[in-house]
Symmetry: none
Subunit: 537 residues, 2 copies
Amino acid sequence: MLRFSIPMESAKPNVFLYDTTLRDGTQGEGISFTVSSKVRLAEKLDSFGIDYIEGGWPGSNPRDMAFFDQIRKVTLKRAKVAAFGSTRRASNAVEVDPQVKLLLEAETPVVTIFGKTWLMHVTEVLRTTAEENIKMIEDTVRYLKDNGREVVYDAEHFFDGYKDNPKFALATLEAAQRGGAEFLTLCDTNGGTLVGEVQNIVGAVQKHFPKTKIGMHCHNDAGLGVAVTLAGVEAGAVMVQGTMNGYGERIGNANLTTVIPNLSLKMGYPMACAEHISRLRDLSLFTAELANQRHDSKQPYVGASAFVHKGGVHADAVNKVKHSYEHIAPEAVGNRTRVVVSDMSGRASIMMKAQEMGLDVESKSPAMTHFLDELKQLEFRGYEYEAADASFKLLIRRYVNQKADPFKVLNYKVIDEYGEWTDDVTAEATVKVKIGENIYHVVDESTGPVGALDGALRKALSHEFPQVNDVRLTDFKVRILDGQKGVKAIIRVQVESTDGVNIWGTVGASDDIIEASLEALRDAFLYKIALDHGETE
Amino acid sequence: MLRFSIPMESAKPNVFLYDTTLRDGTQGEGISFTVSSKVRLAEKLDSFGIDYIEGGWPGSNPRDMAFFDQIRKVTLKRAKVAAFGSTRRASNAVEVDPQVKLLLEAETPVVTIFGKTWLMHVTEVLRTTAEENIKMIEDTVRYLKDNGREVVYDAEHFFDGYKDNPKFALATLEAAQRGGAEFLTLCDTNGGTLVGEVQNIVGAVQKHFPKTKIGMHCHNDAGLGVAVTLAGVEAGAVMVQGTMNGYGERIGNANLTTVIPNLSLKMGYPMACAEHISRLRDLSLFTAELANQRHDSKQPYVGASAFVHKGGVHADAVNKVKHSYEHIAPEAVGNRTRVVVSDMSGRASIMMKAQEMGLDVESKSPAMTHFLDELKQLEFRGYEYEAADASFKLLIRRYVNQKADPFKVLNYKVIDEYGEWTDDVTAEATVKVKIGENIYHVVDESTGPVGALDGALRKALSHEFPQVNDVRLTDFKVRILDGQKGVKAIIRVQVESTDGVNIWGTVGASDDIIEASLEALRDAFLYKIALDHGETE
């Protein structure tokens, strides 16, 4: 039954990928790149097989021009670098427009300019006439062409403009075409257009310009950034603009890490990067790191949760038939199946988890049986290993591989005090830690008990394990486990730590929040020490 | 030019909303709810206007059955509660199938059962025959109908199954229809189906079952969860299953906080919650707090970044023409335009919140202005009132109605100690509390510092307010607010309490976890005292 399957050898046109992470992506809240990061990301995008890289808007900030100065010295394999800007101002001849001058000074092979499609924007925002707007588009495209540039014309607010006045919207595209633009890009600038509207409008544009290459530039404000991009391609567009991880203004741009596998793996469109799609997750992580953003675990295809199975029915089925609960093979995008250990886990999911970590454990061995018993006890007492891989690996090391922990906390004491007169809290922690035959008894203070314990533990451990000072806590969460029992119920603490390279999660559980915190902190340091001894992978 | 605009008065069918946050949502990594949080969320969903609330899978874990026991005692305005489960096992007659028995014991008006559509799953995973699978579906639906339930049939892997073998896939739906199912829900269980496929397949199903109500249950693995849901509705489906904030397995379920405004505000489908859509952001934040999840700022419509403008061109244009860079009016979903980076609440949203709680506050009064200033300070220091209604009401009492708190905590001290020899932790807390002119200086101990503080506070208060002994803590959650800063960042504690009749949430924030806990506990007791004086409603 092949009715709905995708023919692998198709006559579909090649799709050009146009990445604007370095320009539109930086409009996202909290997103910025240093100049050297911009260059590194451009090189990475090039080696992945991206066709066009929009590097910035010359003049909008000093970093963008510095990027163009540097990228000119780099030999890229395939990608063409584009500078982005607007058409000339209404008041200027194009030859003397300062912004157009900067676009040429960027010395890029490609220039992308945007112009107004929506009449309301022309009259209310630009405060000029429809006729002048048309001239601004044609003049600017032609001038850039005459200066040897490949020109991509971005029709801002195309869909809103077309819905308002299709005749005027098409006239702006005709102006860009007369000027000589290689691509006419239809922008859903406000991100609110629906799939059916895009199907109809791109179809109409395609009919009007049967020989011109059409592009799509979409945003995600209605949660449809990817869907409308795909709809545009199906209606005839051959260029896709978007950003890595969907970074961009407001809710973000069409996410290329989702668009690419959909177009290539599922819809069968040829593209230059097709052979590198197994490096997609790597590219996504790399971009997040350069942008100093937490990588979104819920990102389609490339997120850490994309192929995760929580114990029970699904994990069991995936074990039986690999694609029973996976829409593609995770390896195709450089991802992998993960099984998380939850209170519904059986032996099957534990074994899968151990295998996934590359641990050589035999399902029927006595150590494994002992470990499973121990694990059930621990889960009953409130530990949860779903987001605490590091604590789980330490458990396996202890119970299955039977290695002793390199240190032990013998005792601790925390004093936390608030006084009305000072209106201030002070926390002091003392810990006694045994490392081999040595005992370290130290004290530290902080604004809170967890900070004080963390400081005291570091002090004690750094005598023999100075690497603990590289560990930084990045997240700290607390849950009470059985709401019915109130404050005497079990408290679970989840800690996330990093040493700048690795990120790991640990867990502690106790009826005392301080003890639970101490356990999670202790595991975070134990894991760092094990990591440095190459014991955990 | 109305060609693509949406007619406001349309003949479109009503869409039923089916929320499965409490069941499928909890399959998401890191998502879990206490029983009392489940009840609170169900009440909130009901008052928002959701039609069906799937509460859990009886027997899969102890919490789900406890939820059904409690929700039965609650009078909901509109929503019908559904219990979820599978068809009988191949080896059992339906009358003796233990899982089906549990479904009836949940005593819900609606039961939703899933069955297999994909032949490969029948033979490889269930390891039974096509014929037996058909019987399992029909038997189970009919048995539940005979027992007076409204039955929603969820056809698992419907799209993959249909692509593999449309005849068998339709035969499974026919079985459910023969059994008497009210809804046939088409599930894209693996989340990989494309928009065009859904359009074709739902169209075909609709043709085959012209008189049966069709539902959609989609996942977001291809980044199309919302798009395929909308495509299904346009092709004839009248029920939408999804979760708040898109929580759910792997990448998550179709996000109802995106689906609802798309269907209602943009596509003109009538739905029961239409009049409450301006409370959508509030509902989304409430759900995130109960799930102890960071609210995703990039969530369409309801995220903090949804209508943010990073200054410059767009902010200026938005100033000139409000809808120039906004796809809808943010207020329509309870959100707002932000130009500068700030999370502070505006007067309008506070007023909305106060009105929602039935509080009579005047927008322009000096007390209200003072209150808003205070609130901005508090939010800046880490307090958040989305799920802490009680603390918010206490604030209004203090600042708007200018009533003094009936007690004050002058100082406290906590000592928490662990010793290797006893292998035990002890926590001792002393508090000095002022009530009127009296001062009570007491000490208590517990297994942890929060319990010790709680005990000491009760001891001190019960001299004059014995009702505090009726208060029971039902949930306790802690978040660190700025992950980058590590343990010295602000810590927010959310406490949920009950006196057996009412349930209320309170909040505390500090760089000291003990101080933040004390504040949340203090508010919990203050609220109970105010409740008994009839001062808060």
